[in-house]
């Protein structure tokens, strides 16, 4: 007797293994397949034969285990010969039901509902083509969200100044924002600082002069009102109604040095101020109070995206670097004329101002303070004041170190951004898959109900394709729900920690995550982008994707319906 080849031995072992788990009433059939193995021509054909047979036996073993144990008949005891195999149908329907129930359980968790809400944000851009990015600072939309409207209404009813200020600081409609903040300050004058928060984001506000005047009275040492004035002058000159297009124009074209005396006066006053407070700390505390008080579920309303503008009016903050350079140049001119004290005063004012700006100074005025200290060191060195020269040289080194540290911090921030970006991608993708699979499942169920013309389970006979599609869709819903939950959960924790303890660590990550989560999947925009024109492209892109998907689905359906089938008549 010749020894069996390896594939044939494997085939035999495979079928024997399947026989060992097969239900009793299929053993004859399994042994039949095993005996036929001796007659199959070709080793690989024998292996394929064994795979098929083992699959059949394994399927019956699984069904037997799931349903009625070893006594389960291998086939339905009654009904028509060509009815669908009932146990298989039941298995699939049970699996679909289990997936749907598990997915619904996800929805019972508030964190998941929040995650689902975040995943839907990408559709806002796709469905609202005309939206302009960041018209008013925070994550607000051009149209106010229902959540914000609810808050505004409640705060007005309660005459809650902090609630009104909270809504005003993030309302997308400037007129409404102004109305709410006026009401808030009237109720509680200690909230006057909210004027600055709103004015820093838009320079086309009514009552602008009164607001600045009140801000100067409220916090006379602060440079922020002067920045706001400089911003307003810039905006009026450029002739744009909003800051960002003007800023964009400034960046793209490179503006000439500002020569408007009013602007020069405002910037000089800002440089001479004793402090710079953008009120971001107060704003965060206000946010926290309002979030707790009004149980705000919408994370987009909970977090202000202040990561890049740092609470400063962006245009004048950008121009402060230009103004600082002009001050350094005027110091140089004084130095050339022999006015050493005048030059020292100019350089010192720049150094003091950048120090006052803190981290924002490193961001908006890169290397300006280092330049000022170097000039001071050089000036004192020429004046034979070595002690002072060494002192300012050391400060220049310190400024250099601070600059490098800030760059490292920005790199680290950027790396953190990659994680947030990836998580936002997962949230958007799982949100899309969830919607698609849910729609497919509803479609399958509706189709079966319409064809069966009954709501009784026993009278419904879904075809194999319907069952396969339904099972795939249910699994898709469950899997995408799990991914959505897991991807969003860390950010929910960050938000809850901020609300509970006021801990701001991770808020910037959350802001970046939310910024990315708003961008439609597939769009190449980055958070805070000002490139409004691409919004239409985003819409058309997604419209094409959806249209192609629908077309493909209809084609598959059509092919299935028209595949060759034999019809037979039985009595």
């Amino acid at each position: 007797m010749t020894p069996l080849s390896y594939p044939r031995r494997l085939a035999s072992q495979l079928l024997r293994a399947a026989l060992s788990i097969a239900p009793h009433d299929t053993l004859d059939w399994g042994n039949g397949m095993l005996s036929e193995l001796n007659h199959v021509e070709g080793n690989w054909s024998a292996l394929l034969w064994a795979f098929g047979g083992a699959g059949v036996l394994a399927k019956h073993a699984v069904l037997s285990a799931i349903f009625t144990g070893s006594t389960r008949p291998i086939l339905p005891s009654g009904g028509d010969l060509f009815e669908k195999e009932t146990p298989m149908r039941k298995t699939v329907l049970t699996a679909i039901g289990a997936c749907v129930v598990a997915s619904l359980l996800f929805f019972a968790a508030p964190v998941f509902r929040q995650a689902f809400h975040v995943s839907l944000a990408q559709w806002h851009d796709v469905l609202h083509v005309g939206r302009t990015f960041g018209t008013f600072g925070t994550f607000g939309y051009e149209d106010s969200s229902p959540e914000l409207e609810r808050l505004a209404k409640k705060a007005e009813q309660n005459r809650d100044a902090e609630g009104l200020a909270f809504v005003a600081a993030r309302h997308p409609n400037p007129d409404e924002s102004v109305r709410l903040v006026e009401e808030a300050v009237q109720l509680d004058p200690s909230l006057t600082w909210v004027y600055a928060v709103i004015a820093a984001q838009s320079c086309s506000l009514p009552h602008f002069d009164r607001w600045v005047s009140e801000l100067k009275k409220y916090d006379s040492q602060n440079a922020l009102p002067y920045f706001i004035v400089a911003e307003k002058i810039d905006c009026d000159e450029v002739g744009h109604k909003t800051i960002r297009p003007a800023l964009l124009k400034g960046i793209m074209s490179g503006r000439e040095e500002h020569e408007n005396p009013a602007w020069q006066t405002a910037m000089a006053a800002a440089f001479q101020s004793h402090k710079l407070d953008t009120y971001l700390d107060r704003l965060k505390e206000l946010d926290r109070k309002a979030l707790i008080r009004y149980h705000v579920d919408d994370p987009f309303q909970a977090v202000s995206d202040d990561s890049w503008w740092r609470g400063l009016p962006s245009y004048s903050a950008w121009d402060s670097s230009r103004y600082a350079q002009s001050v350094l140049e005027s110091g140089e001119a004084l130095e050339a004329r022999g006015d050493r004290d005048g030059a020292v005063e100019k350089y010192m004012s720049v150094a003091r101002f950048t120090k006052m700006m803190g981290p924002a100074g490193v961001f908006w005025l890169p290397r300006v303070d280092q330049e000022a200290y170097k000039r001071l060191a050089s000036l004192f060195e020429r004046g034979a004041n070595k002690e002072q020269a060494e002192f300012y040289a050391a400060l220049a080194d310190q400024a250099d170190q601070a600059q490098k540290a800030e760059l490292d911090s920005m790199r680290s921030w950027s790396r953190g951004g990659e994680v947030a970006h990836w998580n936002a991608f997962l949230v958007r993708l799982s949100g899309l898959v969830l919607l698609f699979c849910a729609a497919l499942l509803v479609f399958c169920i509706s189709g079966v109900l319409v064809r069966g013309r009954s709501f009784k389970l026993a009278s419904l006979h879904p075809g194999r394709l319907t069952l396969a599609l339904g099972l795939g869709a249910a699994l898709g819903v469950l899997l995408s729900s799990a991914v959505l939950f897991v991807s969003y959960w860390p950010y929910s924790e960050l938000l809850q920690r901020f609300q509970r303890t006021g801990d701001e660590a991770g808020l910037s990550d959350l802001a970046r995550f939310l910024g990315d989560a708003q961008l439609p999947l597939g769009s190449q925009l980055s958070a805070g982008s000002w490139y409004v024109g691409s919004q239409k492209a985003v819409f058309y892109f997604w419209f094409s994707v959806v249209a192609l998907c629908v077309l493909a689905f209809l084609l598959v359906l059509w092919r299935f319906r028209h595949r060759p089938r034999a019809a037979a008549a039985t009595t």
Partner: protein
């Protein structure tokens, strides 16, 4: 009168059986003749047997070779397949007519 949907694979198997209604057939031979893999063929055979349209028997062929499982139509099975024949023929004729019209 009920018109259940028959899968083309089941019809193919029944066609093979009806060619020689009284003959006992081996599983592998049926697989080769119908072109169906074991994973498709055996569930069909099992279903037909369950509905008593098919009977099974173990036969010994030669010494040293394990007995083989064989199958043939029961009288009920043969009658059932014959009852399918007119419809099947009608379908074939209809398809041929459509092909002709298209040509």
């Amino acid at each position: 009168m009920k018109t259940p949907r028959l899968s083309p694979q089941t019809l193919r198997v029944l066609e093979r059986f009806i060619e020689r209604p009284t003959a006992w057939r081996y599983g592998y031979d049926l697989s080769r003749e119908t072109g169906l893999k074991s994973g498709t063929l055996y569930p069909i055979l099992m279903r037909l047997a369950k509905h008593q349209l098919l009977e099974t028997k173990w036969v010994t062929t030669e010494d040293g070779v394990p007995p083989r499982h064989t199958y043939r139509l029961t009288p009920n099975g043969a009658a059932f397949v014959r009852s399918l024949a007119p419809t099947r023929s009608a379908a074939k004729i209809r398809r041929a007519a459509i092909s002709e019209a298209k040509a």
